[in-house]
């Protein structure tokens, strides 16, 4: 479904991604794993049209998308849930959901109904008219995903969805992602909780220095010695960052 070939992303003289290729098929969870600065977020941002790649092709459903605007990506069904949730704190929960449907929406807000999406999120349904700043970190992440779903994606890009969340809240997010895949949504996920991600993922890519150094099924990756050493063992190294980045 999604085919990325030889992707290059440069920021001025610094190149963040150098010749990366990956693919996502319908209804699978694909994990992208790598250290900070490996180029994971840059890759996701290029795959949602936020940044324009210097070189390379991005094809989705047979159509070439590289160089197009975020609008076209969303219209094609690729929606990104950004790192750090980026929930609109001054807007209500309902408005956050409605803004997610911006690209589909009609002129009047009253015509944008979040009902379908809300069935999955009873917590949000209860707090529909509260400002999003009242939500806990876990709830805000749920809202961010729900907001993404409002655009009716066929491929959801998740950038560090459990960053700064408690283990229980993270657990809930992973369950949600798993459930979404089981309903046919494709998911490309960048995560620092490598073990839990590989538990639900179908396949994975390991990025280092803007290139893919390892790829395979989630099962294979979990058994890989190098990966275990560098990522599965680095939980403690991630901890300070996640507390630092905690929002609210």
């Amino acid at each position: 479904m999604l085919d990325v070939h030889d992707l290059h992303i440069d920021y001025g003289k610094i190149s963040a991604v150098r010749g990366l290729s990956l693919s996502v098929d319908a209804g699978e969870i694909v994990a992208v794993i790598g250290a900070n600065g490996a180029g994971k977020s840059s890759t996701l941002n290029a795959l949602s049209g936020i940044i324009k790649p210097t070189k390379g092709s991005i094809r989705y459903g047979g159509k070439s998308l590289a160089g197009h605007s975020v609008r076209s990506y969303i219209r094609m069904g690729i929606v990104q849930v950004p790192e750090g949730r980026m929930v609109f704190r001054t807007l209500t929960v309902l408005e956050n959901l409605q803004v997610g449907a911006y690209r589909l929406g009609s002129f009047l807000l009253s015509h944008i109904s979040p009902e379908d999406v809300l069935q999955r999120f009873p917590v949000l349904a209860e707090r529909l008219h509260e400002p999003a700043s009242n939500l806990s970190g876990g709830q805000a992440q749920l809202l961010a995903v729900a907001r993404g779903l409002m655009a009716r994606p066929s491929l959801l890009l998740l950038d560090e969805p459990t960053l700064g969340l408690s283990p229980i809240a993270s657990e809930e997010i992973f369950r949600l992602i798993d459930a979404l895949r089981n309903e046919g949504l494709s998911i490309l996920i960048v995560e620092q909780n490598v073990r839990q991600t590989l538990d639900i993922a179908d396949r994975g890519y390991v990025i280092e220095g803007g290139r893919i150094v390892l790829q395979g099924s989630a099962q294979e990756l979990k058994k890989d010695d190098g990966l275990v050493a560098s990522y599965l063992g680095m939980k403690s190294a991630c901890a300070p960052r996640s507390t630092q980045m905690r929002v609210k």
């Binding site: 936020i50 609109f88 807007l91 409605q98 009047l108 655009a151």
Partner: protein, 299 residues
């Protein structure tokens, strides 16, 4: 007592025009976190186009209104493209300075268009006003108040009931996050500018039609009044702009009545000074100041 109420009514009417100008500032500030200093001069140039149509083409008053508003919108677009769109996102000071430079340019254009100092501006109504008991309401004042209230309702509906309004509020909070929704902050900003200019054009027309004359100083005057009203009510707060505008109008009317014309502006500045010392965010903008402080603490 009758004097007091009469003065308050007069103040509310001019205050509602201030409120409109403050709203224009607030809209643009809300979306861009930048102040468009040449907002007043844009209105002035629009009004000069209107009075030019009146003087040279003998246009009907309604046409003068249309030309004034359309002119203000056109100048607003020009200012947006030059001072805000063309200048990078992180260079807020540069766009403020350039909006000041554009101000000079706009005044220059106005004096080329009409080299004199003062020009007549057609009044709205030929008949004076209505008596209600001991009070006299000038027709212009009633219209200004009514139109201002109407614009407020329209603005509120636009901001809170439409997709565009939601996008605008989303961009005001975080243009970074809005991009992920497929919203183009550049486009939203442009339309916010157009809308602010439209509001400014209407406010300018109402004020000038009540005054029946226009000078190139109107730009300076409008920028001052709008900024003071906005600061008074609260930076970036829409209800604040309205409260600030009305309050400024009432304060001015009373000081003029009781203390004389000379003290009028002085009092307005004094009140602004006191409000900013006691409540740095303005009367209703405290929340915004606190939110920013919070955000900075997090960072």
């Amino acid at each position: 007592m009758i004097d007091f109420i009469q003065t308050t009514l007069d103040g509310l009417s001019i205050g509602s025009a201030y409120a409109l100008i403050a709203l224009g500032f607030t809209l643009v500030f809300g979306v861009m976190r930048r102040i468009n200093l040449s907002y007043g001069p844009s209105i002035m140039l629009g009004a000069f186009a209107g009075t030019w149509a009146f003087v040279t083409l003998e246009a009907q008053p309604w046409l003068v209104a249309v030309v004034t508003i359309a002119g203000t919108v056109a100048v607003g677009m020009y200012v947006e493209r030059l001072c805000f769109w063309a200048i990078r996102k992180d260079a807020a000071i540069a766009s403020m300075v350039s909006s000041f430079v554009i101000w000079m340019q706009l005044e220059e254009v106005a004096t080329i268009l009409l080299p004199g100092r003062t020009y007549p501006y057609p009044e709205l109504f030929k008949f004076g006003g209505i008596d209600i008991g001991p009070y006299f309401l000038r027709m212009e004042h009633v219209t200004t108040l009514a139109v201002a209230m109407f614009m407020l309702v329209v603005l509120r509906l636009l901001l809170y009931r439409t997709r565009f309004g939601l996008a605008l509020r989303a961009v005001s909070e975080s243009s970074e996050a809005a991009v992920y929704m497929g919203i183009s902050p550049v486009r939203i900003t442009f339309w916010a500018f157009v809308f602010a200019s439209f509001i400014g054009g209407v406010a300018g027309y109402l004020l000038l039609a009540a005054d029946q004359q226009v000078t190139p100083y109107f730009g300076l005057w409008a920028t001052f009044k709008g900024l003071i009203a906005m600061m008074l009510g609260g930076l970036g707060s829409i209800p604040g702009a309205i409260v600030g505008g009305l309050l400024l109008g009432v304060i001015e009317a009373h000081t003029q009545w009781y203390l004389g014309n000379a003290v009028k502006d002085l009092t307005a500045y004094l009140v602004l000074f006191l409000v900013l010392v006691l409540r740095p965010g303005g009367l209703l903008g405290q929340g915004i100041v606190e939110r920013h402080a919070q955000a900075f603490r997090r960072i």
